[in-house]
């Protein structure tokens, strides 16, 4: 105790001497006394203010309740991994479908990175809490009108990490380059502009997708997390369980 007070006292004195004098228009000068510490930890030893705690309680109950809402169920986990994964396919597909519904036009391609999916979806009940863990970010679903040459850069990026895309199949050749690219079953046409459903984060050049930065995203007004939760709810409502599989969107020679 004396250790702390004496040091603080000496420090306050130093600060006061150093900071005090000066000419100023106001009659008084504010002198800091930096004591006892300027950042006081809000730690476990502190009691809770009962009135504030009482205000929080009903909100916490609603959060807990909503987080435990069961959206649907999965017979096996939807796992994530680099390259093509069940969860990656599931999310990339629903992004494309949701963006198409929001903008009332077909969307050619869906893109999500493995890093953007924070955890796998468990087998059994999938709760809203599970979806928050999978997608804690406030990323919004956007659409990029992407010219052929930028699409080519996307495919080269994808081929390097064998990343799958929704509505696309391709082969990674011996040199690690994308080949035999098909979009919606049709051969990729570099002269065409394609629509891409993607998060605003990636559209802004996140995860090194710098080639997208120059494009102006079209907003859907839908959070990626909302799109995921809604899709699971919808499947459940239709009596379907939540499944996704690796189906050979990316072939490696």
């Amino acid at each position: 105790m004396s250790f702390l007070s004496s040091r603080v006292a000496a420090f306050s004195l130093l600060a006061a001497v150093a900071l005090a004098p000066g000419c100023q228009r106001a009659v008084y000068q504010a002198k800091p006394q930096l004591a006892p510490v300027t950042a006081q930890p809000v730690g476990k030893a502190l009691p809770e203010d009962a009135q504030v705690a009482a205000v929080i309680t009903p909100y916490r109950q609603r959060v807990t309740q909503q987080m435990s809402e069961v959206l649907g169920s999965a017979p096996v986990p939807l796992t994530k991994n680099p390259g093509e994964s069940p969860l990656g396919n599931f999310v990339a597909d629903l992004q494309r479908q949701r963006a198409a519904a929001a903008l009332r036009e077909p969307i050619d391609v869906g893109v999500v990175t493995n890093g953007g999916l924070r955890t796998s979806l468990p087998a059994g009940a999938i709760t809203l809490g599970s979806v928050f863990e999978l997608m804690p970010f406030e990323n919004e679903l956007v659409v990029l009108d992407t010219p052929g040459p930028v699409m080519q850069q996307l495919f080269e990026y994808a081929a390097r990490i064998k990343m799958a895309l929704s509505n696309v199949t391709y082969t990674v050749d011996a040199a690690g380059k994308p080949a035999n690219i098909r979009i919606g079953g049709q051969p990729f046409n570099p002269a065409k502009t394609y629509t891409v459903a993607i998060s605003d984060y990636l559209a802004g050049g996140g995860d090194n997708m710098i080639f997208f930065k120059a494009l102006k995203p079209r907003d859907t007004g839908v959070l990626l997390r909302t799109a995921i939760a809604d899709k699971i709810r919808q499947l459940n409502k239709e009596g379907q369980s939540i499944t996704a599989k690796v189906e050979g969107r990316v072939k490696v020679i």
Binding site: Y28, Q29, A30, A39, L46, F132
Partner: protein, 306 residues
């Protein structure tokens, strides 16, 4: 052992730390003391971090912060409770209730003022407007022009508080929103040069408003290597600010940093991390000003306890 470790390992709790303040010899009993309490970047952290959190498990929590503030108010008659923005975003409380609870609890704690952080625009201007009735405290912002938005006329650049027998001028500065916040979320809000606005504020507060102390609530950020404006650059360019309470960079400062302003006087900068892990506290007394010339500080003082 540095100070932070000492505090962590000490057997007396954080609550008793605040009691230490009254026993300090540096504070003359006869002088009215102003106690400034502050937070920044609370990011919807209503409950303490879950115990499972590797870094911050068990820390923070608004009910505990409220208890700490109540305790200090019992001992100190002249308290200013301030915040530097990014009240919102970070826990499901914000996703579910749109910031309602954050504003209600801050009102309950008796916050005197805050400024805007970039995340306070996360639900757009409409989302902000919707929650304003829950905020019993003003949002001070000098360098955002809302005149072409639905929020025109809702915010003041500064407010003068009469505390401890003195006039305390508090103004707010926000970070450039473009590139940080989606365009549609800040709409036609215009960002104005923080340095020019800060000079204007000091002129007004030290002049017609006859303030003895000027505090800037800043969400500019503590320090950038680039030319981007930050609290340190602001302090070095603008005279007449006693204290900058910062935010945005989530900086944990062991002690406030004095920065020499052009006239040689020091401006203190403080920031206390994020998520309500800490409550900042600075105590001020007021001395009659002298006409003596300032002894210019040769360098930034190494104000470090460790």
């Amino acid at each position: 052992m540095n100070r932070r470790d000492f505090l962590k390992n000490s057997t007396f709790g954080a609550a008793s730390l605040s009691l230490l303040g009254v026993s300090l010899p540096a504070v003359a009993a006869s002088e009215a003391k102003l106690v400034i309490l502050h937070t920044n970047d609370m990011h919807s952290r209503i409950d303490p971090f879950p115990e499972s959190d590797k870094q911050w498990g068990g820390l923070g929590g608004m009910a505990r912060r409220a208890a700490m503030i109540t305790q200090i108010r019992k001992q100190e008659p002249h308290v200013l409770l301030l915040d530097s923005g990014d009240i919102w975003q970070g826990t499901p409380y914000f996703n579910f209730f749109g910031g309602e609870l954050e504003y209600k609890l801050m009102s309950q704690m008796g916050y005197d003022a805050t400024t805007f952080g970039n995340h306070d625009f996360d639900n757009g201007l409409e989302g902000l407007q919707k929650q304003l009735p829950n905020a019993g405290f003003p949002f001070l912002i000098a360098n955002y022009d809302f005149s072409k938005t639905p929020l025109a006329g809702r915010f003041q650049p500064y407010k003068v508080f009469e505390k401890a027998g003195h006039r305390i001028g508090v103004f707010g500065l926000g970070i450039e929103l473009s590139g940080l916040v989606a365009d549609k979320n800040f709409g036609a809000t215009q960002y104005l040069d923080p340095v020019g606005k800060a000079q204007e504020m000091v002129t007004q507060l030290r002049g017609p408003e006859r303030c003895d102390m000027v505090i800037c609530l800043s969400h500019l950020g503590y320090k950038y290597e680039s030319a981007k404006i930050d609290d340190r650059k602001l302090a070095a360019q603008v005279n007449g600010i006693d204290l900058i309470l910062g935010g945005h960079t989530h900086t944990f400062m062991d002690a406030p940093e004095p920065i020499q302003s052009p006239n040689g006087r020091a401006t203190l900068i403080n920031q206390v991390g994020w998520s309500g892990i800490n409550l900042g506290r600075l105590d001020y007394t007021f001395a009659r000003g002298t006409r003596q010339p300032t002894v210019a500080m040769a360098a930034v003082l190494p104000v470090q306890l460790a």
